[in-house]
């Protein structure tokens, strides 16, 4: 296949990915909204999350779960299965987008903002799939799918760029290390952010006593588990983000002659890092635990998003590769 064919295939796979994610999004939402499983099933799922989040994979009870699903009250449409199936298929297509793009350009497929955002949403979906397998966190699906669809939409509508070579400054093996770390961390932070939003929503509803039995929120795990899930994913992402910043500094030292120059991107990476650090500390501090810490985590996520969109389009700096 020629490079042009590969580039074309990449664009087609992108369309496939988006369509599958949209269907998965609808199916996840339908499962949350009117999956006809009994409350007991939801509770069992919650117990699994609790157990899963408690540091172990509930392999055996996970095996048992579909059995309960298949019980007499099996719904006409098994939304969750449809959702997971399309999610995984979409993920495969998404991977294809990146691989074909990389092959067409003959380089790492994150040399411009379109590719970078595509890769970040891929990382977010991957992180979600891992979290789903490990902690039975299907309830996050609708949120992560929505984030991925929005990100891919933005990438295609506003950031699209045809296949081409990168600017010489990006032509370094560090792109494979620094940018990949940034992508993995950003994707994971997105999943943590989704869990935190759910935590805040459910916490608010609970404090107002508005969690109706059988409602959407009753199908979501307890606030403690949401909080813990978000913490765990953040704890995975934070060291990677730290490493991404440091490897960026090493690269900056190679390319620009200084390892830290307060370029807007550096400033906002630093701000993001500091707020996530504050969140990790706040979560262990009396008086800051829970809601306040969750809000800090949201602020950190907002800084992360601003670092991506705001910094590249509002300020001019050395990271302006868009």
């Amino acid at each position: 296949m020629s490079n042009a064919d590969l580039a074309n295939l990449s664009d087609k796979l992108m369309l496939t990915t988006v369509v599958m994610y949209i269907i998965a999004l609808v199916a996840y939402a339908a499962d949350l909204g009117f999956g006809r499983r009994r409350a007991a099933v939801a509770e069992q799922a919650e117990a699994k999350v609790l157990v899963g989040a408690a540091g172990a994979e509930a392999t055996e009870s996970a095996e048992a779960a579909p059995g309960v699903d298949d019980a007499p009250e099996r719904p006409a449409v098994d939304w969750i299965r449809l959702a997971v199936l399309l999610n995984v298929l979409g993920w495969g297509a998404h991977l294809g987008v990146l691989v074909t793009r990389g092959l067409a350009a003959n380089r790492w497929p994150w040399g411009n903002m379109y590719e970078f955002l595509t890769a970040i949403s891929f990382a977010a979906v991957t992180a979600f799939i891992v979290v789903m397998i490990r902690y039975k966190a299907q309830f996050l699906g609708a949120f992560v799918m929505a984030a991925a669809v929005i990100a891919l939409g933005v990438a295609n509508i506003w950031l699209y760029d045809s296949v081409g070579p990168v600017s010489p400054a990006l032509n370094s093996y560090w792109i494979a290390i620094h940018v990949t770390a940034a992508i993995i961390a950003t994707g994971s932070f997105t999943v943590a952010g989704a869990a935190t939003i759910l935590y805040l929503v459910k916490d608010r509803a609970e404090s107002r006593g508005k969690v109706a039995a059988g409602g959407v929120l009753s199908r979501v795990p307890s606030v403690e588990n949401l909080d813990r899930l978000s913490m765990r994913v953040t704890m995975f992402a934070f060291p990677i983000w730290t490493a991404a910043i440091i490897m960026g500094a090493i690269w900056a030292d190679q390319a620009w002659g200084r390892y830290w120059g307060w370029d807007p991107k550096e400033v906002w990476s630093f701000i993001t890092w500091v707020i996530y650090a504050a969140y990790l500390h706040a979560r262990a501090t009396a008086g800051w635990k829970g809601r306040k810490a969750a809000i800090l985590s949201m602020v950190a996520f907002a800084a992360l998003m601003f670092n991506f969109f705001g910094v590249n389009y509002m300020f001019s700096g050395m990271h302006s590769y868009a």
Binding site: G55, A56, P165, N171, R228, M235, A255, G257, G317
Partner: protein, 567 residues
Amino acid sequence: MTDTKESSTEEPGTDPGTAAPAARQAPGEVPRPTGIGPLGWLRWGWRQLTTMRTALILLFLVALGAVPGSVLPQRGQAPEKVVAYLDEHKTLGPWLDKFSMFDVFAAPWFAAIYILLFVSLAGCVIPRAFKHYKSMRARPPAAPRNLGRLPQSQTYETDASPDDVLAEARKVLRGRRFRVDVSGGAASAEKGYLGESGNLLFHLALLALLFALGLGNLFGYRGNVLLMEGKTFANSLGLYDQFTPGRAFSGGELAPFTVTLDDFKVRYEAKGDKRGQATSFDAHIRYRATPDGKEKPWDLRINHPLKVGGAKVYLLGHGYAPKFTVRDAKGNVAFQDTVPFLEMEPRNMTSEGVIKVPDAQPDQLAFYAILWPTAVASEDGKQIVSAFPGPIRPVVTVTSFKGDIGLDTGTPQSVYKLEGVGKTLRPVKGGQKLLEPGESFKLPDGSGTITFDGLKEWTSLSVNRDPGRIPALLAAILAVLGVATSFMVRRRRVWVRASAGEGGRTVVEVGGLTLGNPTSEFDDIVTALRGPDEEPGAEPDPESGSEPGGTDPDADRPSGPATEPKE
């Protein structure tokens, strides 16, 4: 065996992450001082500063304080933009300047925040490091009275004597690299100090990183120089176009190296929608580390700097430098050199520059020139434009002036601009001409001739020395290792108590406490203690929070000793 009780509960609200900072004092625990004198206040203030709440607020302030550093132009990054901003905002600008808003990262208030933060950090971490060191050497804490109340616990009976059970426990736990202490009919064991060590390492490495940054700022230097093809640069203060020394830098510390630029090449994408995008910059240089050292070649590229004499040389920018020869009215060569031109637009590198000929007789000559690297007619056919950044068809237009250039007054002049045009420098009538390489133009009034000899290029090089570079790198690596370790390794305690029960049997209680969440390691230990043949129906309950294959990184570790069946 019969009578097996298994119980395991979750420890609410604790996580591995809480392990680290939990040692800081919670707010509100510091009593307000009453009548304690200045020393007491000082102590109170210190305790306040080292609380987690203060640290959190300082962290948040650092983040907040950094924001204007990205929103407003900064002197350190773009001084010309600061000047422009001050021009545009006559009232707001000076006020912002008063609060160092254009030098945020060198501002006293920003320094105050981060220094307070680091003092707070040091005040918390250093005592903790001592405490940790002591606890690593101290005996593991004695067994709590009721092991059944711990997050993980199991009880079983065995025929072995209590002493044998404890000896076995010591062996099993030692084999798993626990620190074990047997006293008072119970074995206490502890491991996972690495988690706290990593945590401390992370925070101490951040302190070291700050010091390394300071070191570089004090003793380093940074300079920029423009170097044209065929020219040599010797590392000395006077030859830099721009030089920023560290506060404690003295000029004599410049390494005496020289760099000669032989050839500079830019590759551009020639077709497709990325036509004109630069794909590589290559500067072929030769350098000597010392004046009489051996000359070596180097391929200087972006991402491929040259290390020489403790400094690093980087390729920063590039531009065109046309070569001109100017003869004066008498026919003598008054000027022959390459002249650096600055780009007017980055896309296709249309560039401008000036040629100053103070030696021309009888009148000094000067020229303003525009270069089109690839000259084509504009769409309306009225103008010349450049269609490509590479030099496919270079053309210059020169506009001639004569009179007094103004160099004799001693006031420094920019090499990119003519001074006194229309006053001391008069335009030469009919003195405009378009030249291709090799072409000459005789000024109509006979005051001289200019020849466009050909096109060369210049590069701008950045030279810097930063003695904090390697310490900063080491500190950063340690910080990452530290934070990763502290998140992965948790401290775990296990106690085994053996006491004589009814009927000559021995009751063995095992209790486990993990900072964070229960681990499957505990079950492995119990299994190892009991032996494989002594556990009917010992399948761990999936709801017990201690399943196999969990996220605990230690769960997969090879278990120490082989399980030994007991008699």
